[in-house]
């Protein structure tokens, strides 16, 4: 829901990247599938050597985490609790005194493949309710997590385990911290690769976005893993139950945060339509301009944070017209004089500034009329994008005629003072794709 406007329509000109996407996903899934197959094959042989209680506890933990997935800003999905469960099982050293009498006996520590088998079963069980409820199974996310957990497990077992097994907690901490970081890195990089293809962004931009969204959750997951592994030495499996409390409430806090962000976006999208209902602009104008502006911004490599601001500003770019006594004929600001354009932009920016939290958005709206003001250091890129998208939609509207689109682009290309050539080039790219997709 959150990112429905952020994910543009698939394009035929990008077939190459579509295939890349398919093969990227395919590669990920087949890697995961092979890991699972190998894990199951060995697990059935060596199952009697593994402590069943521990495996069951961690598997259950992972299943619960997979059941309680978390929507993050930008239409992402994470399962932090499943990740915590999987990574801590991969790094588990010793299960404490409550199981002391059994731990002193024969059971071997779980092998890396055993860890993968338990994680895979947990994930499958946890995703069953999602499938039963008709929600997407989230296979990509599960495969990503499984690969990350597998990387950590293979790195740690058996060499790392042998190293820390008989040493003090300082050694364990020193070995585990980089491994936890590795797990997070694999998860983030694979996630960014998949996402870059999904939304058509550059990988360098996608990875920065991913890190920006994931760092807090990642830090929490990493610290939780270390605490669970070390705590289990003292508290035994009860540690898992105790730690579930803070994990669950943190997840609730994240969920509320993502929820309010989604509602925020929905509200701005809806309220921006007041200009349409009041007859100031053509129906669908704000939404089309914002979609176009976001697509152009992405084409130019803007990070997600800036894209969100461009989206807000584009949705509200005409809000200043509400202060006009009479609607402009047809609502097309491109047809009014420059001083009037400036006045409307200024009024709109004032409205947005009232909120007190959207200073940058207000600035983007104000600067969209820069040719009139002779903006000295050059207007912000976002403003140039919105101006171009607005002009394009004023001239072309919902029409899909190639000629109208080409004429609008030509007009902007010739007006070097009013439109930035780079932005117009990106717009032309996006517009071409849009037409190709519609026809």
């Amino acid at each position: 829901m959150t990112g429905s406007a952020m994910t543009g329509p698939p394009s035929s000109e990008r077939w190459s990247s579509w295939q890349a996407l398919d093969s990227g996903r395919l590669l990920l899934m087949s890697t995961a599938a092979m890991l699972v197959l190998a894990a199951f094959a060995t697990a059935t042989i060596s199952v009697q050597h593994v402590e069943k209680k521990t495996a069951l506890a961690f598997g259950g933990f992972i299943a619960l985490g997979e059941l309680l997935r978390l929507a993050l800003p930008g239409g992402r999905e994470a399962a932090p609790i499943a990740m915590v469960g999987g990574l801590s099982y991969a790094l588990l050293i010793n299960v404490g005194p409550s199981n002391g009498h059994t731990a002193s006996g024969s059971p071997q520590p779980a092998s890396a493949l055993m860890v993968i088998a338990v994680a895979a079963i947990g994930m499958m069980v946890g995703s069953l309710p999602h499938i039963a409820a008709g929600r997407p199974a989230g296979l990509t996310g599960m495969c990503t997590r499984l690969v990350a957990i597998a990387c950590v497990a293979f790195a740690f077992r058996p060499a790392g385990y042998a190293l820390v097994h008989h040493h003090s907690w300082e050694v364990a901490l020193a070995v585990m911290t980089p491994l936890v970081l590795l797990g997070w890195l694999v998860d983030t990089v694979v996630g960014a690769l998949i996402r870059a293809d999904d939304v058509g962004a550059r990988f360098s931009v996608a990875i920065t976005d991913e890190i920006r969204v994931q760092w807090a959750l990642g830090a929490g997951v990493g610290a939780s893993v270390i605490i669970i592994v070390l705590g289990a030495e003292v508290m035994g499996l009860a540690e898992l139950a105790v730690f579930l409390g803070p994990l669950l409430v943190t997840q609730i806090a994240f969920r509320r945060y993502a929820g309010i962000r989604a509602t925020y976006l929905q509200t701005v999208r809806s309220l921006a339509r007041v200009t349409e209902v009041a007859g100031y602009v053509e129906a669908g104008h704000s939404r089309r301009v914002s979609r176009l502006a976001v697509a152009v911004g992405r084409e130019l490599g803007l990070p997600e944070r800036d894209l969100l601001q461009v989206e807000y500003a584009a949705l509200m770019h005409d809000i200043g017209q509400l202060s006009l006594r009479d609607p402009i004929p047809g609502g097309a600001t491109v047809l009014v004089s420059e001083p009037d354009q400036e006045r409307i932009a200024g009024l709109g920016a004032d409205v947005i500034r009232q909120a007190g939290v959207l200073e940058e958005v207000a600035e983007l709206v104000r600067c969209q009329s820069w040719p009139a003001t002779g903006h000295k250091p050059g207007p912000p890129l976002g403003s140039m994008i919105i101006r171009a998208a607005n002009t394009f939609d004023d001239l072309v509207g919902a029409s899909t005629e190639r000629e109208r689109s080409a004429a609008a682009l030509d007009r902007m290309r010739q007006d070097q003072r009013g439109y930035n050539p780079t932005v117009v080039a990106a717009l032309s790219e996006v517009a071409g794709r849009r037409l190709a997709w519609r026809l």
């Binding site: 404490g96 005194p97 409550s98 002391g100 907690w169 807090a216 959750l217 830090a219 929490g220 990493g222 610290a223 939780s224 270390i226 605490i227 070390l230 705590g231 030495e233 003292v234 508290m235 035994g236 009860a238 540690e239 139950a241 105790v242 730690f243 409390g245 803070p246 669950l248 409430v249 943190t250 609730i252 806090a253 509320r256 945060y257 309010i260 962000r261 989604a262 509602t263 925020y264 929905q266 509200t267 701005v268 999208r269 809806s270 309220l271 007041v274 209902v277 007859g279 509200m316 809000i319 509400l322 202060s323 006594r325 409205v351 947005i352 009232q354 909120a355 007190g356 939290v357 959207l358």
Partner: protein
Amino acid sequence: MVSRAAWLYIGLVVLATAALVESTPVGTRVTPHFWRELVILQLLFLICDSTPAPLVSRQTKWSPSSAATLAAVVLLGPVAAALVGAVSLVSIKRQLRLDGRLFNGAMGALSGLLAGKTYLYLHGTVGLPSFGSKSWVLIGAFAAAAAVHVMANQGLIWGVYRLNRGRRMLRNEGLESSLPLLLVSDLGYAAFGLIIASLWVLMDAFAAVLVLVPLFVARWAMGQFAEQQRAYAATMKALCQAVETKDYYTRGHGDRVSFGAGMIARQIRMGADRTDAIEFAGMLHDVGKLGVPTQVLQKTGPLTEDEYAAIQLHPMRGLEIVREIGFLNEALAGIMHHHERIDGKGYPMGFAGHEIPEFARIIAVADAFDSMTSTRSYREAKSIADAVGELRNGANTQFDPLVVDAFIVALEREGWPLPAPAAKPTDLTVVTVKDHDDPTAPLRVIDVP
């Protein structure tokens, strides 16, 4: 300023804490070890308490500092827990006055002490925890202590609110609207107390450092939510004001109707979620007015059937705009039906009695009241008493009598944010606008023969 009653209350809490500490044996383990661990836990408490996350209400802030107190409950016993909680007195927060510090310190100490006593009472052993065969006894005792700690904390805060409630309540000044959720969160994070204590067995004081990371992630998430929620509310308000700029006289109308609807909702003890939803619905109830042509809104004489129909359509226009927002359906129904009348003569559907959704019945009362107490170009504002009289007259015909009663009770308690006395706008182009909300001057429609 703090009232005398509040000072008395703070004094009582301090006294109770002192008396209880006095009567509690410090424990068996007053060694140099004890003091070192105490100081480390106090430091952890100080770090958490000095960097609290704001909550939506702005009145209280939240920090995961209770983890330190509860770790002291397990490691060092009740008196030490009180000493850790008392650190709130000196926490490094700007803009905290003496009375606030005193109360926080006493509250921290008292709840720590009570939690410690609960833990002992339930056979929890003080000292480095050992999780042998009796680990579930220890965990159970700790869970009870954590629950007592959270309850004592929130109970004492609630007391302060009650005492300050004598003064006029401003919007958002109540307790956090999501109090149950806050209680659950506090309870969840309390588990860190036991986690610190058990890690202490392995890594000594480094346990306190290790838990700082998840504690700060928790704090970050809580703070982010509050920040987004506030940004959301502020943006929504700004957009609603933009809608109202066209008409000088109705500025602030949405905001006041939102306030009134929230007031009634609290009076009839609606849940926190529904109260939030009705406040949003009140804010947005007239956005559909934008879809009514300006000439119709500005017409002074009687309206033609068509023009009247255009006005009658505005709730549906409003619904059209806000439909896609992830609201409760009830809020949408409230916007759609806020001009229905109990006698069935309203619009757009002509619903009667309890056919009208509850939200709409509430918004209708707040809407009419604000319209009557605001100045209009064709009349002065009515006094609050006169407007209340009009509401009473309209009960059973236009308004739901139960809602009117609830509104009047709440009004006496909370007061009403009257609009700034409308100095006549100097802008000469302002035109007379008939207020469609005004129950004392109903819209006239030309009878077509």
